[in-house]
């Protein structure tokens, strides 16, 4: 039981004083989680509002159970100036937005051009929680070293997009038997693993906290495991598509299955799931990457990378990890909330009174069976390969200060108000 008063959690425990309560939620059989945190989403503003806006993206986040999302800097222009951070925070706080916290991630280099570092100190002051080369992976190891040294000084995590672009150039799916059959240029797994290894080594030697974004291969997992063993301050994340989908599912050139890094194989899925269980993979994110319909309805090789994900993370994680016996309920909540909050040093991921600025609570019905319908999502992007998938488990109510989302599937009988 928790008590939320004036947008704060004031008491938590098996027995609390309900006297004078205005609203009561009957959560029997449900999970009361600290508000979920997605460390990796693309809200697309400024510059690409045909794909998503901060308003629609945060509404999608609330509907997916998230109370905090970290938005990526590869916008147009990229998030390399404090004014752009102000712009995002203002839009996220506006009444029409979804009511969730937006934690911006700054661009490591000016314009993401990988020539010179952004003014990371000014960006930190403006409110970034990490810096990243998302969308424009830094190839030059000397530049990455300087970036990490700067971020150590500023106590900022570096979120690393690990891709050796000489190896990946021109490729649009995993290099394997399926790409060979379809005549599509493949991205070899070495393109990811080499950069994971490099960034782990730079983390070890600079002491910079490096967060490896969306791990997709068993080799990358082994690199990270080794780096952690050596004491490097490295963390990493995975998205549900990498523990549910394989390159074979690209089928007949379906652009909804085009991601970077690309979808891999069942062997990778098995090892990634084990790594989630043993803690090598710290957290789960969506890599929510909305695109306009006209951008996706093109030949596979011309389609953009990525899929929407905010409204499927909980369902897919519970269905394919929790109910599959890979994660316990507590571990599930940790991977979706506490761990990403700790990685990014956010005032989030806790139900303890006073630990978060306002109450952030996500109520999950772990056994609710539902079918994902992408046409009914809040996101502007409808590019998802999970359309029509049956799932077990859903975020049914999201509270961030006040209630910001209640699912139509959340039983009215469980909810009571008092005058």
């Amino acid at each position: 039981m928790d008590i939320i008063e004036f947008e704060q959690i004031v008491e938590i425990g098996p027995e609390v004083n309900e006297e004078g309560a205005e609203e009561i939620y009957d959560c029997t059989g449900l999970w009361i989680c600290p508000g979920l945190v997605d460390p990796h989403v693309h809200l697309r503003e400024p510059g690409e509002s045909q794909k998503e806006t901060i308003t629609t993206g945060t509404q999608s986040a609330a509907a997916g159970g998230f109370t905090t999302v970290c938005c990526m800097p590869n916008t147009s222009p990229p998030l390399d100036k404090p004014e752009l951070i102000d712009y995002i925070l203002d839009k996220a706080a506006s009444p029409e937005a979804g009511g969730v916290f937006v934690a911006p991630v700054g661009a490591l280099t000016v314009g993401l051009l990988n020539e010179r570092l952004s003014d990371l100190a000014a960006l930190k002051k403006a409110g970034i929680v990490a810096a990243s080369d998302e969308g424009a992976p830094i190839q030059n190891a000397a530049l990455m070293t300087r970036a990490m040294e700067t971020c150590v000084q500023l106590d900022l995590p570096v979120m690393a997009h690990c891709e050796e672009t000489n190896l990946s150039r021109g490729g649009s799916m995993n290099e394997g038997a399926t790409s060979a059959m379809l005549g599509i240029r493949g991205v070899p797994r070495t393109a990811e693993e080499i950069m994971v290894m490099r960034n782990c080594l730079l983390s070890l030697h600079t002491g910079c906290h490096v967060h490896i974004m969306r791990v997709s291969t068993w080799g990358a997992v082994e690199m990270i495991r080794q780096a952690k063993y050596l004491g490097a301050p490295v963390t990493c994340e995975i998205c549900p598509q990498y523990f549910t989908l394989t390159d074979e599912m690209v089928g007949e050139f379906d652009p909804n299955y085009k991601t970077t890094p690309p979808l891999r194989t069942q062997v990778d899925i098995d090892i990634l799931q084990q790594a989630l269980k043993d803690g090598t993979i710290d957290c789960i994110c969506s890599d929510h990457s909305p695109h306009a319909g006209y951008e996706v309805h093109v030949p596979f090789e011309e389609a953009p990378f990525g899929m929407v994900g905010l409204e499927t993370v909980v369902g897919l994680t519970l269905t394919h990890c929790t109910h599959a016996g890979i994660l316990s309920p507590l571990e599930t909540a940790r991977k979706l909330s506490t761990a990403p909050a700790q990685i990014l040093r956010l005032d989030a991921g806790s139900l303890q009174p006073g630990e978060t600025p306002v109450a952030q609570v996500t109520i999950i019905d772990p056994d609710l069976e539902w079918t994902f319908d992408v046409s009914r999502t809040f996101s502007k992007g409808k590019n998802s390969p999970f359309h029509g998938w049956k799932m077990r488990g859903k975020a049914v109510t999201t509270i961030c200060g006040g209630e910001i989302y209640r699912d139509p599937l959340f039983d009215d009988a469980r909810y009571a108000t008092f005058d």
Binding site: G176, H297, E301
Partner: protein
């Protein structure tokens, strides 16, 4: 109504049907009999990627059948003004074209076109994926000389990795009972060939040993700039079919090339013009199988096909 998008999705009886139709068209054309279709149609020839040979071949096929063609090329069209492939296809649909023959640089583009066009689509080459009518023409050529496909050993030599001709031929030949070998340098071979119906050979002599058919593939100049090969001469030293290297194959082997050929690189003059060469017959036979394809897509389904892409 059906599409001809790939050989991979065809069943053996469908391939046989297309080959039989092609052989019959050839007989009629050579005998001077009429091949005019009872139902003349308007075909759009959409060549987003330049190809004179294939377009002329389809135009000739349409001419023999009495179909009308309307040409649409990538440059100077709405595509170069930023229109998406989907919108171009939808436009042509409402221009009331009754079928399209399409070449496009992206693998899978023919499937995408078929999804939106609503009438038959014939793939004339999609990226590095498939070129089904070339494979049908090649098969007709082999049958003319060898009498069959079943039981033959066919070596496909060269840039297999980037070749739609190699893929369509491998599917067709293996479905019809031939044994397919892919022969070439490791950098031009698929690293993971498990889903392609052929075995990899990196040594030319071993790859063509005992072969009934040698199919050379065109070597694109850009493979050198990509760093996949050191030079054209390095390639020809290792993989050229010439009067010396051909001795590893069967004495009565035939040599093929889908064109355009780089003389002196994939083949030497003696082999290209010699008794083994079937290169000119390939060009001619491609017309007749394209006639077959243009009739087949409008004919009633005789054999159930595997789904060729999405509905």
């Amino acid at each position: 109504m059906k599409h001809l998008l790939s050989i991979r999705h065809l069943e053996k009886p469908q391939i046989q049907e297309l080959l039989d139709m092609g052989a019959e068209f050839k007989r009629k054309v050579l005998a001077g009999e009429s091949t005019t279709s009872p139902n003349p149609k308007v075909f759009g020839l959409l060549f987003f990627e330049g190809s004179t040979r294939t377009r002329v071949s389809f135009e000739q096929a349409a001419h023999y059948l009495g179909h009308k063609v309307t040409n649409f090329s990538g440059t100077g069209s709405s595509m170069s003004k930023g229109e998406t492939l989907k919108d171009t296809i939808l436009t042509l649909r409402y221009e009331r074209l009754e079928a399209v023959v399409m070449r496009h640089s992206a693998s899978g583009s023919a499937q995408l076109a078929a999804q939106f066009f609503g009438s038959p689509v014939i793939n004339a080459g999609d990226g590095q994926h498939e070129h089904p009518t070339q494979a049908l023409g090649d098969a007709l050529t082999i049958i003319e000389r060898k009498g069959k496909l079943d039981g033959l050993t066919v070596a496909i030599v060269g840039d297999v990795l980037h070749s739609r001709v190699a893929r369509s031929n491998a599917w067709l030949l293996s479905k019809m009972g031939a044994t397919v070998r892919f022969v070439g340098p490791k950098t031009l071979m698929p690293a993971h060939s498990g889903k392609l119906p052929g075995e990899n050979f990196y040594d030319l002599a071993a790859g063509i040993e005992g072969a009934d058919v040698i199919m050379c593939l065109r070597l694109q100049k850009e493979r050198m700039t990509d760093g996949l090969l050191s030079s054209t001469s390095a390639y020809s030293r290792g993989y050229q079919i010439n009067s010396r290297t051909i001795r590893a194959a069967r004495k009565d082997c035939i040599v093929m090339h889908p064109g355009p050929m780089n003389r002196g690189i994939e083949l030497d003059d003696v082999t290209a013009d010699g008794v083994h060469s079937m290169i000119q017959q390939q060009v001619e036979n491609c017309i007749f199988v394209r006639m077959a394809a243009m009739e087949w897509v409008f004919a009633e389904e005789k054999v159930a096909a595997k789904s060729g892409g999405k509905k």
